[in-house]
Symmetry: C2
Subunit: 248 residues, 2 copies
DNA sequence: CTATAGTGTTGACTTAAGTCAATTATGCCG
DNA sequence: CGGCATAATTGACTTAAGTCAACACTATAG
C-alpha cells in the first residue's frame, strides 16, 4: 500500500524537483555545471514521468529532446524485421538518453519501471553545449562509460554461457540499482525487468533465463525472495559463476 | 612485390606524414581543428607503425598515449580467464584509440594488419582538450559513433544466426575498408582478418565462419577470390542475408 | 472464496552451433 | 623446386540453448 501511494503521487504530479535537491545532481550530464550554467539548463528542461512499459521514443522517430534518467529504468532495444529483439542498453538513474547529434537513434526507448526523465529541448541543449565545456566534458565521460558497458555486454553476448549471463546480470543489478547493497551486508536487490525483458537483455529465451536462475538458486548462490527480488547468499561464488573475477 | 616494397618502406621509415597531406585529416579527432590548434597537436604527436599481430597495448596496462588510426586495422578484444575471446571493436582509418579519461581500458589493442598510428601523449592531449572545444566536440562525435557500432554489434551477437553474422561482417568491410566499392560497381574488398580473428569478432568458431562463408559462396551471393579477398555478386541478396534492410 | 489472466517455471524434444579430427590449400624458406 | 608450417575447409558427432507444450504460481475482480 505504501508502494501504491508513492507510485500514484509520482504519476500525477509533475515532479517538483529543482536542481538543488535533485538526486542525480552529482552524476548526471549537469554534474560539472556551476550555478549559472545550471540556471541556463533549467530554462530548457521539463520533467516527465512514464508508466512501466510506456514508449519514450520509437526507433528512427524524431525526438525533440535529450534527457537524464532521474528515477526508474529505461530499456534501449533494437528489433529485426522478423521480430527478434535485443536490448542494447539499460539506463539507470543519472544515465543519459538521446544522441546529441541529430542522427536519429535506431533504438527504441521504453520505460521498464515507472520512470522520471529530466528532459532538455534538443536544439537549445546543443547550442548550450557548444558554449558550455562543462556540459560537453561530462557528456563525453558518460558516453565513454556507456561504450565500456556496451563492450562488456558484447563479451557477455558473444562468449558467455547462459548461466554466466544470468549471474552477470544479477551482479549488474546489485551494482547499478542498489550500489549500497553491493559492499554492505544486505546484498538484496529488486529486478526491475520481467523475465521477457531479461531474456531480451541477455540474448536468451525466457525459458533459459528461468532455468538458469533456478539453477543458481538450487546451488545456493542466491535466494529468490519473489520473482522480482533476489538476495545474494554467496557473492564470491556468484562472481565466479559470472566469470567476473578481474584477478588475473 | 609491389605490396612487399610498400610494406617495407612503411616499416622502416618513421612515416613522414604532416597534417596537410594526412589521409584522415577530415575525419579524425582533429577534423574540426583549425591551423593553430593543429600545430599544438603537432607538438605532442608521433607516428608509429605496427606489424600485423603486434600488440599496441595490453588490457589493463597503462598507455601514455591516445591515437588516431592513420592506416591499417586495429582489433580491440576482451578475454575471459579461461581463454574465451571476444573482439569488441574493430578500428579502421580515422578511428580513435584510447580513453581520454585515465581509466585503464580493459581491452587489448592489437594490429590486425600493418598499422600506422598518429599518437598523442595522453597528458598534454587531455590538457589541450580542455582548452580546445573543437577537439572535445569531435571526440564526442567519434565516441557516439563507436557506441552506435557497438550496439549494432550487440544485436548481431545476441540475435543473429551464424550466416547473418558472416553476411553482416562482409557488408561492414565493404562499407568501412572500401567505401568506394560499396556504391560503385567494384564491390570487392579484402578481408583484413584471419578466420580466427573473424570468429572472435562474430562470436563464432573458425569452423562455423568457414562453413557459412562457403554457403554464401555456393548460393552465389559472393565470390571468394582468395581466402582474404571477396567480391559481392548480389548486394541486395547479401543485405537480405545479413538482415540489414532498414526498410520498415 | 473462487474464476481468470498474466507471468513464471518445468518438461520433452529439436536444432544450430560447437568440438574433435581429418584433409586440403597457401605460402615460405632454404 | 620441394618440403614444412600455417591457415582454411570439410566431415562426423556432441551439446547447449531453443521450441513447443503443459503446469503452477500470483494478484486482482467478481
Amino acid at each position: 500500500m505504501g508502494v501504491e501511494r508513492v507510485a500514484f503521487s509520482m504519476k500525477d504530479q509533475p515532479v517538483p524537483t529543482d536542481c538543488c535537491s535533485c538526486p542525480i545532481r552529482d552524476r548526471a550530464v549537469c554534474a560539472l555545471c556551476d550555478g549559472e550554467e545550471l540556471s541556463k539548463l533549467d530554462a530548457i528542461k521539463s520533467y516527465k514521468t512514464y508508466a512501466p512499459g510506456q514508449e519514450i521514443v520509437g526507433a528512427g522517430e524524431p525526438w525533440p529532446y535529450v534527457a537524464s534518467v532521474v528515477t526508474g529504468v529505461v530499456k534501449l532495444s533494437k528489433t529485426l524485421s522478423d521480430g527478434r529483439r535485443q536490448m542494447v542498453g539499460l539506463l539507470f538513474a543519472s544515465d543519459f538518453l538521446g544522441r546529441a547529434a541529430n542522427r536519429p537513434d535506431t533504438c527504441d526507448a521504453i520505460a521498464a519501471t515507472e520512470t522520471t526523465l529530466c528532459r532538455f529541448r534538443r536544439e537549445p541543449f546543443e547550442a548550450l553545449m557548444k558554449k558550455t565545456p562543462h556540459l560537453e566534458q561530462r557528456l563525453l565521460q558518460i558516453t565513454q562509460d556507456e561504450l565500456d558497458a556496451a563492450r562488456a555486454q558484447m563479451l557477455l553476448l558473444g562468449r558467455k554461457t547462459a548461466k554466466e549471463r544470468v549471474a552477470s546480470f544479477l551482479l549488474t543489478l546489485l551494482r547499478r540499482s542498489a550500489p549500497a547493497a553491493f559492499t554492505g551486508q544486505a546484498r538484496i536487490a529488486t529486478i526491475p525487468l520481467s523475465r521477457d525483458d531479461i531474456s531480451d537483455y541477455l540474448g536468451l529465451t525466457i525459458e533459459t533465463v528461468s532455468r538458469r536462475m533456478t539453477e543458481l538458486k538450487k546451488e545456493g548462490l542466491i535466494e529468490l525472495v519473489d520473482a522480482r527480488t533476489f538476495r545474494v547468499l554467496d557473492l564470491q561464488a556468484l562472481e565466479d559463476a559470472a566469470q567476473e573475477n578481474y584477478s588475473e
